[in-house]
Symmetry: C2
Subunit: 220 residues, 2 copies
Amino acid sequence: MSTSNHRQDPASIPLRVSVACFRWNGEAIETIVYPDGTLPSSPPDPCESLDVTAQRVVKGLFDTHAAYVEQLYTFSYVSTEARETVVSYIALFPPEAEGSVAWKPLATVGPLPERPATVMNYATVRLRAKLEYTAIAFHLMPRAFTLAELQLAYESILGAQLDKRNFRRRMATSGMLEETADMRREGPHRPARLYRYSGRADRSSYLTPSSDATSQESIS
Amino acid sequence: MSTSNHRQDPASIPLRVSVACFRWNGEAIETIVYPDGTLPSSPPDPCESLDVTAQRVVKGLFDTHAAYVEQLYTFSYVSTEARETVVSYIALFPPEAEGSVAWKPLATVGPLPERPATVMNYATVRLRAKLEYTAIAFHLMPRAFTLAELQLAYESILGAQLDKRNFRRRMATSGMLEETADMRREGPHRPARLYRYSGRADRSSYLTPSSDATSQESIS
DNA sequence: GCAAAAGTGTTATTAGTACACCCATGC
DNA sequence: GCATGGGTGTACTAATAACACTTTTGC
C-alpha cells in the first residue's frame, strides 16, 4: 500500500553502470561490444561512487585506466520485466590499449539490442559534439602524433572531410598542441612533424560537475 | 562473499530523483528549497521512468507540468553512512506557476547542505551555459513578453549586462521569436511590442538522448 | 625525376562587439 | 513639454570557409 510519502521500494530497480568504450586505431573508431550485444558494465559496489564503478569496469578490460571517462546520461528502462536504471559513461582509450576483449570497428558493429543501442548512439552523438568544442579527441591519440593522423581521427568521428589548411590553423591557434622536436619518416615523401597534446583545454572545454560545478557564482 | 561477478547488493544504495526548479518572476530568478535545505525529490516508483519521476515531483508542487524538464547529472554520495544515488533534473516554470511551496529568489537562498548544493550549483551552471546556445530561456517566460523582459531574464541568469541592440538583433535573427500584433502599454512611454516563442529551437539546440540520440548515424 | 604525402596564405563571408540617438507615450 | 523606457543602424574586429601550389623525401 503506497501513499505519496512512502513510494517503494526503490530497491527493486537494479542500478548498473554501462560504459561505451572508444579507441582510434589509426584508421577507424573501434569499440567494445560483447558477443551478446551488451556493453562492459557492472552494478556499483555499495561503497563506491559511480565514477569509480566506471573506472573499475574499464580497468577490468585493460588493466589500465582509460585516458578519459565521463558520465553521459542515466537511462531508465521500465517497459519490460527487466526494469533497470543504467548510468552510462563514455571512456576513451589511446591506441595502445589492448586487453582480453577485442576491439571492433564501430562501423562493423551490427544492430545492438535496445538498451546498449541507446547508450552507444548517445555516446557517439556526444563524442561527435564534443570534438567541436573540447580537447576530447586527444585522449584517443598516442602520445605523439602527426597532424594528418589527428585530422583522420576527427574526420572519421565526424563522418566528414575537413579542409587540411583550416584544420591545421584551428589546431595551431587552439593552444592544444605542442610541437615536438621529432619527425616521422615513413614512405617516399616528406617526413611529418610530431605533436603532442599540450594539456590545455580548448576555450569552451565543457562543464561537467566534476570540472567546475562546485564554484558558487550567484544568479541575481 | 563477493566475487567479481557477484558484486552486491546494489539494492543497498537508495536511488532518488532531485529537481532544481527555476522561475523568473520578472525581476529575479527564483527557486524551490525546503526549510531544511533540501530540494523537491522522490525515489522513483518501481514502474516509472526517471523522467516520469521528475515530472511527478514537480507536478506535486504545482499541479501543473513544468514547461521544461531535463536530466542534468547523476551524483553518487558514498562518503557517509547515508549513501545514495541522486539523479538530478532541472525544471523551468513560467511565471504563473504557483503552488503550495513558496518560490524564493535564488540570490537569497543561503548556503545549502552539501548534496542539494551540488545539484543547485550544477543546475545554475548548466542553465547559464544553455542560455547561450538553446531556446531554454523561453520556458521561463510568459506566453507573451517584451524584448526588454526577455533581456532582463537573460541578464540575471548570466549575471551580466547585455547590449540592447545586439541582444535584439540576435533574437530577431535566431528565428526563435514571433512578433504578435499586441503591444503592452504601461507607464508614460512608448508601448512595447509583445513577442512569443516560435517553438523553433536555436541552431545548436542541444542533444539530449530524448531529443535525438535514437538517430543512428554511423562513425566510420 | 617522379610519386606521395607534408606543409603553407589569401580572399570572401559571416558572426560578434561597441557604441548614441530618435520615438511614442502619460502626465 | 518633459520624463520614461522602446526602438533602431553603422563601423570594426574576429572567426570561418573556400580554395591550389610548393616542399621534402624514398626509390
